[in-house]
Amino acid sequence: MKRTLNFNIFRYNPQDPASHPHMEAYTLQETAGMTLFIALNQIRELQAPSLAFDFVCRAGVCGSCSMLINGRPRLACRTLTESLPDTITLLPLPTFELIADLSVNSGKWMRAMSERLETWVHSVEETDLDRIELPMDPDLAEHIYELDRCIECGCCVTACGTAQMREDFIGAVGINKIARFKADPRDQRNDQDYYAVVGDDDGVFGCMSLLGCQDVCPKELSLQTQIAYIRRKMAFAGL
């Protein structure tokens, strides 16, 4: 049965002095297989041309369209309207800088986090670009690939109670990245080096194991396991 969907969407453009934060209501006829991404495009095309929201891939790969959907962070492109009630409330992700309406600058946050945690391969040797890379055990390569599937959508940061209270907390995305580089034999950092970037209350010891991150990750990454693993390693590295 076709439903009429009632959308409550946050509207605010910080660049426009006349704009003020408010919720606007829109209605839309639901169609078969409709995702929130499709619904938002229809609203923008037919009802609100100035509505700002982000998307690139439309397939849950780029992580751009994350937003608070009825209070929980999710990807708009991976959310079928049929999984939601008739009334749908959409808000931009908190924690990140608001660009306008549902669009946030999660990239700025992610870049700052990456620079702080130095999420790149560290080596004491100069890389010889002409030399063939050393072979890697397929299981290890698979493990690193699994951790690298993070799309930096920011859902885990928004779902984290600690990150909501403490702006400097690196979130599950940061801890997962440390786990990824720690697993990589090309990264020559030792546990003391990793401790230097995540061994405090803004790092892994700030995590209170509320597991909002685990429960909302659209890529279903093993964040619970990675956080516990890094916590064990860093606790003993710090002693």
């Binding site: 509320l210 909002g212 916590r231």
Partner: protein, 245 residues
């Protein structure tokens, strides 16, 4: 890229994290044992008298040494103070943080997030209620017994404190143990999500079990306290000693 890290971080965050977990683990397991000791009253006054005197060394030395209990209470009190001080690091520090967490919790409707607030609230309650109980145990350890404890509960009107403390301790301890297991990845062989579901079920079972046991125990002390209210201050003499007399 070459190595860039040059920081020399403090070891204290790691030590604090381990200490918070270790003290929490010890205290939560101790509280379960404590409940079994206290609930010995359900087996009869003689059973409770035997447990109380056992910890005073009566069956080892032939006489009571209440100071042994005081010493152990002092150790527990110290661990609670250390655990509380370490846990305070995680408490919201100002109104902005409280309001953000409250908003976040209501928005997420996520059980583990909500349970954390339960831990904060029960922990806060215990700062005060547990301190009262521990000071009494520390200063008058010889008054642990079927009549003395029941008089304290009923005639000295401690039962409201113990009722609140029971709920605070049993919720806080079980949630804490569940979170410890998640935090350190215990029992995580195979499928962490099914482990988590099982741990959560175990958490509720343990909370309910100890709450029921605790309520039954408190009711037993209240009953004895009411019956003994005309003789407050009289200590219990076990049945076999009465026969000897």
């Amino acid at each position: 890229m070459k190595m860039m890290i040059t920081k020399h971080p403090s070891a204290w965050p790691a030590r604090f994290d381990l200490m918070q977990s270790a003290t929490g683990l010890f205290l939560a397991l101790f509280m379960w044992l404590h409940m079994f000791f206290v609930s010995s009253i359900l087996l009869g006054k003689d059973a409770m008298w035997t447990v109380a005197r056992f910890f005073e060394g009566y069956f080892f030395f032939g006489t009571n040494f209440p100071l042994l209990v005081s010493g152990f209470v002092a150790l527990i009190f110290s661990l609670i103070i250390i655990h509380s001080a370490l846990a305070l690091r995680k408490f919201p520090a100002n109104w902005k943080q409280y309001s953000r967490f409250w908003q976040h919790m209501r928005s997420m409707r996520h059980a583990d997030t909500t349970l954390w607030l339960v831990q904060v609230v029960t922990g806060f309650i215990m700062f005060f209620l547990a301190s009262v109980h521990l000071y009494v145990m520390l200063s008058r350890p010889e008054l642990i017994g079927p009549y003395a404890s029941a008089d304290r509960v009923w005639s000295l009107r401690m039962w409201p404190l113990y009722l609140l403390l029971l709920f605070a301790v049993e919720l806080h301890g079980a949630v804490g143990l569940y979170r410890l297991a998640i935090k350190w990845g215990w029992f995580d062989r195979g499928d962490p999500q099914s482990t988590r579901r099982r741990l959560k079920t175990a958490k509720w079972i343990m909370s309910i079990f100890f709450l029921v046991l605790g309520l039954a125990t408190l009711a037993a002390y209240i009953k004895i306290g009411i019956d003994h209210s005309a003789n407050v201050g009289e200590l219990y003499t076990p049945s076999w000693m009465e026969v000897q007399q």
